[in-house]
């Protein structure tokens, strides 16, 4: 085994290793990336039914209630970004930090009827924390700009959304 052929072996092995890693990565990226959407985006451009997305926003105060489907409890609540609200159905135990009027991220798919079927609901460890995506969406929709003070608190969120919905009944969830 000469030095040259040994080196060739090494290069080939490296190429195979990194090549398959790259191929696997690209393949997984094409099918497994999860996009973040705000409720208003879900309304304007509903994703295909098989596509998993992350829905983020504030939980509308007073919207949380329970239903029982075949012995399994289902939590139902509305998530809003101040412009539109989406009804989320989640079969499971809501996280400890889940609160009405606070930010939440739900992972799941959009049903044909416009409701959201969550497989996972995330509330952050820190109760004052707002997910980056939610904050960004609030800024974009003009509800809150971080440059002008603190985030609106839970109570004002509720009224804000109610006022919006009164103005724009079309965006209210069925």
């Amino acid at each position: 085994m000469t030095r040259k052929s040994r080196r060739l072996w090494l290069v080939v092995a490296c190429m195979i290793g990194l090549g398959s890693a790259a191929a696997l990565t690209l393949n997984a990226f094409s099918s497994n990336i999860v996009f973040f959407m705000a409720p208003s985006q879900v309304h304007s451009k509903p994703p295909p039914a098989d596509r998993t997305i992350r829905l983020g926003g504030m939980v509308v105060a007073g919207s949380v209630h329970q239903e029982k489907v075949k012995d399994a409890p289902v939590a139902i609540f509305d998530v809003t970004d101040g412009q539109a609200a989406v009804t989320v159905r989640y079969e499971g135990i809501l996280p400890d930090l889940f609160r009405e009027g606070q930010s939440v991220v739900a992972v799941g798919t959009v049903n044909p009827d416009g409701t959201f079927r969550a497989s996972e609901v995330l509330a952050k460890h820190d109760e004052t924390y707002m997910p980056k995506e939610v904050a960004e969406e609030l800024r974009r929709s003009g509800k809150w700009d971080p440059r002008f003070g603190k985030a609106p608190d839970a109570a004002s969120w509720n009224t804000m959304t109610a006022a919006d919905n009164a103005k724009k009944p079309a965006t209210q969830t069925p």
Partner: protein, 659 residues
């Protein structure tokens, strides 16, 4: 008074670290023995100063000194003593101080137990460690001083995040940090070797024990972190591919590669440049890991402390350390000579393959972790990459890695023939084939089946390796025993660590078959899961030291026979307006029975409770396997060869444990 003493000790340590970074380097280049002799003295001095400083912070926390802002923000009078102590590193400032203290202990360890090193090399290694330490201590002093006072002092502290009030958290961060920081020593060795322009077999022999020690701690730390999230977060999962978890996995992967490639340097003087690069890379990833956690650049459930302002300092420090070391590498690496020849089919060849596969996995995990933040930074798109991505990319790369792992330890060095190796592994292959068939009938998906088979293969081939070396069953047992006594412990350590990997993978494959149900029941109602009957018999309130709890009693029966009684609970912490879920787990080592109490619904007269019930087969094996891997590493550290050159100082690396 005490906090000021701590602050002073920290500043003193920073000054000593700066001296430690500069003077020995000058001494080593001028061959000035006096300047070089300063290195160990300064390293030990810095270690003592930082331990003092850390002790002062713990003292302030124990004595409820709420004039210290850090204590006021993270502690409270009502907190139990254990959590007052562990709370010290449960927050940003304290954890940076802990990090710096562990780094100084590493420096002290090199000073105290590295006396058999050539003095110039030792001086340079200590100098590099001092430079990194000085950076971190400056960071601690300027941007996140744990001793900052607050005036007027509040009567009571704000208390700690209740999620952190857990015995698991008492030991997880220090062990994980010891692992992270431990890789600073191989890094310092690599930089010192680059400055000297010489890497030889002796260098490989010196650097390997340090790498193995750090690797053991990192393995333990990751396993404990996974265990913590399994029983504290109460989601029934053990690994979430969360950026912070990945930040610990990435240095583990390169560190594992380093531990293996250093063997080739030590035995065959090959792969030298690559090993130096791995040592630099592993510590760079460790540093970046801290950076990711501390700056909150990645959106993560672990980001307890989000403060981008500090990120700038850390970013500068990272750029300096990583950029500087890579620059030095680029300048000096071409001068390092390449080593001995070997055939593709040989021990070296398989170790190279191990490195390629581990680094491919590392690249994939790194891509998956860094892609979302880069996308949001560059294109403003918010995306996330989760478990499906990592499963689809890492498992196909891990399976060939496991297959080759079985052959590796049996291969002779330099040039090997496949046939004799295969002949010695025939029974392991048979057992694997049986496992493959059994798993195909038990599991539906292809990946868990393959994982199970390869895990069995790794365990069996490790056993076969040892049995072969002992000539077990081919010679009388007495002679095998004699052979076992003369066999280096490193061989046993390697086999044990490999078997540990197999056990971890079996646990993961078992967990892929986990079953769970979410039910809403009245008290007295029964539900079935995985052949067991779960009955909620009672729910009643209870008082804790700083919380109130609702405790459920669930009886689990199998065919009418009581297996266990679970007591999951929900705790409400008044001072933080927060509730936490306390999971109840019963394990028989083959499976975990895992119950979570959820919300209460309905009126008080006839309430229903949401329960989440999990049946997790082989779950404990994941952490047990991690522990076995670390034990394997520790066993190979106790090898005679590690102690050679320092025969009177038996405990070469154990100092890291003392802390």
């Amino acid at each position: 008074m005490n906090p000021e003493l701590g602050n002073f000790a920290l500043a003193l340590a920073c000054c000593m670290a700066a001296g430690q970074a500069i003077l020995p380097l000058i001494g080593a280049s001028r061959r000035d023995a006096r300047l070089m002799a300063l290195a160990p003295a300064l390293a030990v001095g810095q270690m003592i100063a930082l331990i003092t400083s850390f002790a002062c912070l713990i003292h302030a926390a124990i004595t409820n000194d709420f004039s210290v802002q850090n204590v006021a923000a993270n502690s409270a009078v009502s907190k139990p003593l254990l959590y007052k102590i562990t709370g010290v590193w449960g927050n940003h400032e304290g954890s940076v101080l802990l990090w710096a203290m562990i780094l100084s202990i590493c420096g002290g360890a090199v000073a105290l137990f590295g006396r058999n090193l050539p003095s110039a090399l030792q001086a340079r290694v200590i100098a590099v460690l001092g430079g990194v330490a000085a950076g971190f201590e400056l960071f601690c002093l300027t941007t996140s001083n744990p001793f900052a006072r607050v005036w007027p002092a509040p009567m009571d502290g704000q208390g700690m995040n209740p999620l952190l009030q857990d015995p698991g958290l008492a030991f997880h961060p220090p062990i994980l940090y010891t692992g992270y920081v431990g890789f600073a020593v191989p890094f310092a060795f690599a930089i010192a070797a680059l400055i000297e322009g010489r890497v030889d077999a002796a260098w490989g022999r010196w650097v390997r024990p340090w790498a193995v020690a750090a690797w053991c701690f990192l393995t333990c730390g990751i396993a404990m972190g996974s265990w913590w999230s399994y029983y504290v977060l109460g989601w029934g999962g053990y690994w979430f591919w969360d950026p912070v978890e990945n930040a610990s996995l990435i240095p583990w992967l390169t560190g594992t590669a380093l531990v293996h490639s250093a063997i080739v340097v030590e035995k065959r003087e090959a792969l030298k440049i690559w090993t130096v690069l791995l040592a630099i890379g592993t510590f760079s990833f460790s540093l970046s890991g801290t950076f990711l956690v501390r700056s909150g650049i990645l959106n993560s459930v672990h980001a307890f402390a989000n403060d981008p302002a500090r990120g700038v300092f850390i970013l500068g420090l990272l750029a300096l350390v990583i950029g500087g070391s890579l620059l030095l590498f680029a300048i000096r690496a071409p001068q390092l000579t390449t080593g001995g020849l070997f055939a593709p089919v040989s021990r070296e060849g398989l170790l190279v393959l191990n490195n390629i596969l581990l680094c491919s996995i590392c690249a994939v995990v790194l891509t998956g972790t860094m892609y979302p933040p880069f996308m949001s930074l560059l294109f403003g798109k918010t995306i996330s990459v989760g478990k499906p991505f990592f499963d689809a990319t890492t498992i196909p790369l891990a399976i060939p890695l496991m297959v080759f792992m079985g052959f590796g330890p049996m291969m002779p060095w330099k040039r090997a023939q496949m046939w004799p190796v295969l002949r010695r592994l025939w029974w392991a292959a048979c057992v694997t084939a049986v496992a493959l068939v059994v798993a195909t009938f038990q599991m539906r998906d292809i990946l868990p089946v393959l994982a199970t088979a390869t895990a069995v293969w790794v365990i069996c081939s490790s056993v076969a390796d040892i049995a072969e070396r002992l000539r077990l069953f081919r010679q009388p047992l007495g002679q095998s025993w004699q052979r076992a006594r003369s066999l280096p412990r490193a061989v046993f350590g390697a086999a044990l660590a490999h078997a540990g990997v197999g056990i971890v993978v079996l646990g993961i494959a078992g967990m892929s078959q986990a079953a769970h149900r979410i039910v809403e029941v009245h008290v007295g109602q029964s539900e079935m899961l995985a052949g067991d009957s779960w009955t909620l018999t009672d729910v009643k309130p209870a008082e804790g030291p700083n919380y109130t709890a609702l405790v459920a009693t669930i009886e689990v029966r199998h065919n009418g026979r009581l297996i266990t009684t679970l007591h999951p609970s929900k705790r409400t912490f008044a001072s933080q307006h927060q509730t936490t879920t306390e999971v109840a787990i019963h394990t028989n080592l083959m499976a975990d029975i895992y119950g979570v109490l959820g919300d209460k619904h309905g009126d008080d007269a006839n309430p229903t409770y949401v329960l989440r019930l999990h049946y997790n087969p082989l779950a404990p094996w994941m952490w047990l396997g991690g522990l076995i891997m670390a034990l394997g590493g520790a066993l190979s550290l106790s090898d005679r060869r590690v102690r050679v050159g320092a025969p009177r100082r038996a405990k070469t690396v154990d100092v890291v444990v003392v802390q």
